[in-house]
Each structure stands twice: as structure tokens, then as C-alpha cells.
């Protein structure tokens, strides 16, 4: 009886009032060894890939990376002039300059064992400056945000979790919407877009920066299917996340140079 009361109290405190944040991050330290041990197999395979490679393969990989580097450098040549031009144009439009964001590379050490909960555990924590609400990206797009930090680990919520929503805009014309997670790793739903809005299949949705949580302009998803039912007020829109949600091993934590959306 007493135990039941205690547990109901805990549940309510965590679910309704978010009162257990500090307890949670303290306990997270206790849970860290569990993740450390469960991560051993993937570390072993990483080690294998790094150390048990043939010389030829390494040379080949090196060559490939060199070529890729050349291509990327070539592309970034124009970058500085374009950036300067962008700053001038933004100045003409009376809006403040977009600053470049700093990033921190973190490694995945665990994923949520519960299939309805899309969370990642990362090997960086508040000791490295990670904070709650920090956006998380990979090479292809936005992954999610940090919801919990302990000194050495952090836990991130993916954009596809059923409890997550993110403000987006269509890259082509700037139409704003909200993309909600569905609990499936390959599906987002865009809600409350009226049936007459100009949005097409294949449109890229980028983060709009509204709400001040995510920085502007990171790719979020590609519109997959649009269903316009004349009987309904809103179109039913589904989108596929751009980021490799179930494949990334290394992710980037973004330090925005100023609160997003204030430009």
C-alpha cells in the first residue's frame, strides 16, 4: 500500500511536474556502467575495423577520401564569397547576419530498448557543455534534441518519437508547418496544413527556427505523400526524415551562436 503510494507519487512527479530532473541525472551516473558494458560489442567491432584491415584496403580508402576531400574543398572555394554576399544581402534586407554554428562530435553508446521510445544515449555530458534542449544533427539532417544530461552522458529524443514535434518550413516557398513524430523511425506527419496550401510531394522541409529550440535551415524531412480529401479541412501529409535515424553512430551536437529564430 505504502509502496503503491510512493510509486504513484514518483510517477506524478516525473510525468506532470518534471520534478525529478536532478535525481534522474544523478541516477543516470549509476546507470552509465550498464551502457558502458552493453556498448562493448560495437567497440570491439570498431576496433576490428580499425586494426585488422589490409594495407591495400587502407590505401584504397585513403585514395577515396583524398578525392572526396578535393571535391569538397573545390565546392567550399565559392563558399566564402557566397557567404559574404549573403551577409551583404541580409544587411540590405535589414536582418541580422546568420552566424555559423559550432558543433561537437558525440558517439552513440546506446539506443532506447523500448521500441515505442525513440531515444539515444550519447557519450558526452554536461562536462563537455551539453545542455538540455540542445539540437542534434548528423550529416544528412536534424536528428532530435537533448532531453537529459548527466556529467558524462546525455539522452536525446529523436524527431520521430511520438511525443516530439518540430516547427518546419518548406524549403521551396517558406510555408510553415509542424512535423510530428509518429513512433515509426521512417515517418513524420505534418499536421494542420490547409488543403489549398502550396506543398508538393518531394518538397524538402527544413527547420524554421520558430519556437527558439532548433536553429534555422537544417533539413528535417522530405514530403512523401499528400492526401487531399475535399471533405476535410486539412491535408494529410506524411514525410520521410532526412537524417539516418537508425544508422548514425557519430552525431553532431550544435551550439547555436545565438537563440535561433531571432533574425
Amino acid at each position: 500500500m505504502l509502496v503503491t503510494l510512493l510509486l504513484v507519487g514518483l510517477l506524478a512527479a516525473d510525468l506532470r511536474f518534471n520534478a525529478l530532473q536532478t535525481t534522474r541525472s544523478a541516477l543516470e551516473v549509476v546507470a552509465a556502467p550498464v551502457y558502458w558494458v552493453s556498448d562493448i560489442p560495437s567497440r570491439v567491432s570498431d576496433w576490428n575495423q580499425e586494426h585488422l584491415v589490409l594495407r591495400d584496403e587502407l590505401l584504397e580508402q585513403n585514395e577515396q577520401l583524398r578525392q572526396e576531400n578535393l571535391v569538397l574543398q573545390g565546392r567550399s572555394l565559392q563558399m566564402s564569397s557566397l557567404q559574404a554576399e549573403n551577409v551583404r544581402l541580409r544587411a540590405l534586407l535589414n536582418s541580422s547576419a546568420l552566424l555559423r554554428d559550432d558543433v561537437l562530435v558525440a558517439e552513440l553508446i546506446g539506443v532506447s530498448p523500448d521500441p515505442v521510445r525513440h531515444q539515444l544515449v550519447l557519450n558526452k555530458g554536461s562536462n563537455d557543455g551539453v545542455f538540455v534542449g540542445q539540437p542534434l544533427i548528423d550529416a544528412d539532417g536534424l536528428l532530435g534534441q537533448i532531453v537529459e544530461v548527466s556529467p558524462i552522458n546525455a539522452r536525446a529524443l529523436l524527431i520521430t518519437d511520438a511525443t516530439h514535434s518540430i516547427p518546419v518550413q518548406v524549403n521551396r516557398n517558406g510555408v510553415r508547418a509542424i512535423a510530428e513524430g509518429t513512433g515509426s523511425l521512417t515517418l513524420l506527419e505534418v499536421h494542420h496544413v490547409s488543403a489549398t496550401t502550396d506543398i508538393r510531394e518531394g518538397d524538402l522541409l527544413v527547420s524554421s527556427g520558430l519556437g527558439g529550440r532548433f536553429p534555422v535551415g537544417y533539413p528535417v524531412a522530405v514530403v512523401n505523400e499528400i492526401e487531399r480529401d475535399p471533405g476535410e479541412a486539412f491535408a494529410r501529409i506524411t514525410a520521410t526524415p532526412s537524417a539516418a535515424l537508425e544508422r548514425s553512430r557519430h552525431v553532431l551536437l550544435v551550439f547555436t551562436s545565438k537563440p535561433a529564430g531571432e533574425n
Partner: protein, 162 residues
């Protein structure tokens, strides 16, 4: 006698730690729904074997730890494991004389209850499963029960845990 007592604790803690690791070990997507409830299985075994040592308090502590490492609402697994431990405490005398597959059937029900409670709490949060797949762990746990029973019993006898 004292030395043995200290040993015993060590074995119990070790099995629970292992269960915890197995509970968060990444699985391929097609297996994710069927992950056996390792912590619940281990708890059921120790409650049947040593009801005077492992009970409600252990269940609460384990549950909260599991909540934190799974990133669930604090209290979700604690609630589920307490119900499991309570039922196992009520049933342990009968369970001890059951045949292996009768025990498996009881484990199926207990883990089913565990999953049910978790599902209720998750629905409160708005993140519940859409299908009945969340009951799959009950099946896989029941199938794994003979294996868990034999390995834990082997450990208990070898280290004379009492």
C-alpha cells in the same frame, strides 16, 4: 558463514546487473519488439528461490534503475516489477513444485502483467504502442524461462547463495 553471506549478495547483484545490460543491449529492429524482459525473469527467479532475501524493496530499486537506464518515466518499471514481485511472493510455494512448463505458463502471465502496466503508464504519457506487439516479450520470456532457471539455479548452487 559471514563470508558466504557476502558472497551471496555479490552473486545476486551480478545477475541483476547482467539482466540490466541485456535489457539495454541494442537489438536489430525486427527483434526489438520481442526482447525478453530479462530483469523481470531474474527477479522472478530470485523471489522463488529466496523469498526472504529478494522482494518488494528489491523490485522498487531495480525498477527505478531500469526506468533511468531505459529513459522511461520514473516509476513505470518500478510499478510493473513490484506487481510481478508481489504475485511471485504469493505464488512461490506453488511455483517451486510446478513442472518446468507449468512455471513457464506462470512466467508468461507475470511478464504479461509487467508489459501491461508499462503500456498503461506509457499511454498516460502519450507514447503507448499502437498494436498488441507489446505483449510479445511475454512469449519470448516464457520460452526463455527454462534457460534462465537452469543457469541461475546453477549459479546459486555453485556459490551456495542463501
Amino acid at each position: 558463514m559471514d563470508g558466504q553471506g557476502a558472497h551471496a549478495y555479490w552473486v545476486i547483484v551480478f545477475t541483476f546487473f547482467t539482466a540490466m545490460v541485456l535489457a539495454v543491449l541494442p537489438l536489430p529492429a525486427w527483434l526489438a519488439w520481442g526482447r525478453p524482459e530479462w530483469v523481470a525473469l531474474t527477479l522472478i527467479y530470485w523471489v522463488i528461490a529466496l523469498p526472504h532475501r529478494v522482494g518488494i524493496t528489491t523490485a522498487v530499486l531495480l525498477g527505478i534503475l531500469l526506468d533511468v537506464s531505459e529513459g522511461a518515466v520514473i516509476g513505470q518499471n518500478a510499478f510493473a516489477l513490484v506487481s510481478v514481485a508481489l504475485l511471485a511472493l504469493l505464488l512461490y510455494q506453488r511455483l517451486r513444485v510446478f513442472s518446468l512448463w507449468q512455471q513457464s505458463a506462470v512466467v508468461f502471465v507475470l511478464v504479461g502483467i509487467n508489459q501491461m502496466v508499462c503500456q498503461w503508464v506509457q499511454s498516460l504519457e502519450g507514447a503507448g504502442a499502437q498494436t498488441m506487439l507489446f505483449l510479445l516479450p511475454a512469449v519470448s520470456s516464457a520460452l526463455l524461462w527454462p534457460f534462465v532457471l537452469h543457469s541461475l539455479r546453477g549459479l546459486r548452487r555453485y556459490y551456495q547463495v542463501s
